[in-house]
Each structure stands twice: as structure tokens, then as C-alpha cells.
Amino acid sequence: TQLLEQSPQFLSIQEGENLTVYCNSSSVFSSLQWYRQEPGEGPVLLVTVVTGGEVKKLKRLTFQFGDARKDSSLHITAAQPGDTGLYLCAGYRRNAGNMLTFGGGTRLMVKP
């Protein structure tokens, strides 16, 4: 069982649709990051959320950190084919050194 559970694992939608990806844990994290990884490339950091209840927006992407800092969500409005990729959440806990705990990822495909 992974410490960070992402859902759904796979998502295939049409261009223009909205979607939400979830990242859940029973543990509290000091911060949480979201990454996007395109095929054949390394993950690229999208955002870091630190405060419980925090909401950050990056163009059509909205990231939220749960009040209890145990979960997070990523919402994409009007998805575009360029949003296609693997979305990874990663949590940081202060007592775990400098390491991150990664979720299993959500593979998103946006069809034109």
C-alpha cells in the first residue's frame, strides 16, 4: 500500500472537458508537490502547496491542499491535448529527511 494514493490511475477525456485528480493519505505532510511527466522525460515541478486549505492556480490548473494536510487535488478546466501526461503528487514530511514520498501517478490523455 502506497503512502500517497492517487486516483484515478488512468483518465481519457475529450478536449474541453474538466477533470479532477486526487492525492490522498492517512499521514500529514508538511508540503505537497505536483509534477507532470511527459513520455520519455523526467517529471517537471508544477506547484508546491504548504498551508492547509491553500489553493494555487496555474492558468487552467487549480491545486488545493486539504485543511488537515493529508490530501490534495488537481483540477484542470477545459483540458487541452497539451495537458496529456503523467501527473504525480509528492509529499514532504519533516521527520523523513529530505526525501519525498511519491504517489503512483495519474495518466491523463486528452483527445482532440
Binding site: 502506497q2 522525460e41 523526467g42 517529471p43 515541478l45 519533516r94 529530505n98 526525501m99 519525498l100 504517489g103
Partner: protein, 113 residues
């Protein structure tokens, strides 16, 4: 921008060969990490280093070793490659103590035949 580079994008090796994967970062980061990524298993930490000549085992260190002789360079070594080490290998770095944002290289897709 932080730049993390990896020596090879694709590598094919034979069982039993010694394999070196090199990673270089140009932002004077203290921490460096090696992960492997496999379908259905996500990213798994192999080793990390928080200083020159310092290393710590991650979740799956068996069959691997690392070397960090210079701050900017972190090498992953497969002493005797096996087919179950076929995977995507990702290197990452982060600034230092308390800094959790990791910056990844493009990855090396290693195939062991």
C-alpha cells in the same frame, strides 16, 4: 533555471556488465537522488546523497551503489546488471536541508538483455 543532465537517454547493456549512470546538476544543490520508475510501481528511491562523499540507502538499494566525489555529480552503478534492472532511471536534486522541491533530469531508459 535548474538544470539536471543525465549522461545517456537510452542504454542497452548485457547481463553481468557493470553499468555507470551519470548525473550532473548546475545549481550547487546539496541533495541528489536516484530513482527508478516502473509501470504500476511509481518512482522508487534507490539512493540519495546530502553531501559530497555521503550517501544513504533508499527503498531499493540492492544491486546498486553510488558515488558522489563532487557536489555537482552523482553516479549510479550497477555492479552486475540483471534483466530485472531494466527500467527508467531518474536523477533529481534539491537545494538543501528543509528544501523539498526536487528537480529531475530527463531520465535514462536502461535495457538489460
Amino acid at each position: 533555471d535548474v538544470k539536471v543532465t543525465q549522461s545517456s537517454r537510452y542504454l542497452v547493456k548485457r547481463t553481468g556488465e557493470k553499468v555507470f549512470l551519470e548525473c550532473v546538476q548546475d545549481m550547487d544543490h546539496e541533495n541528489m537522488f536516484w530513482y527508478r520508475q516502473d509501470p504500476g510501481l511509481g518512482l522508487r528511491l534507490i539512493y540519495f546523497s546530502y553531501d559530497v562523499k555521503m550517501k544513504e540507502k533508499g527503498d531499493i538499494p540492492e544491486g546498486y551503489s553510488v558515488s558522489r566525489e563532487k557536489k555537482e555529480r552523482f553516479s549510479l552503478i550497477l555492479e552486475s546488471a540483471s534483466t530485472n534492472q531494466t527500467s527508467m532511471y531518474l536523477c533529481a536534486s534539491s537545494l538543501g536541508t528543509g528544501s523539498y522541491e526536487q528537480y529531475f533530469g530527463p531520465g535514462t531508459r536502461l535495457t538489460v538483455t
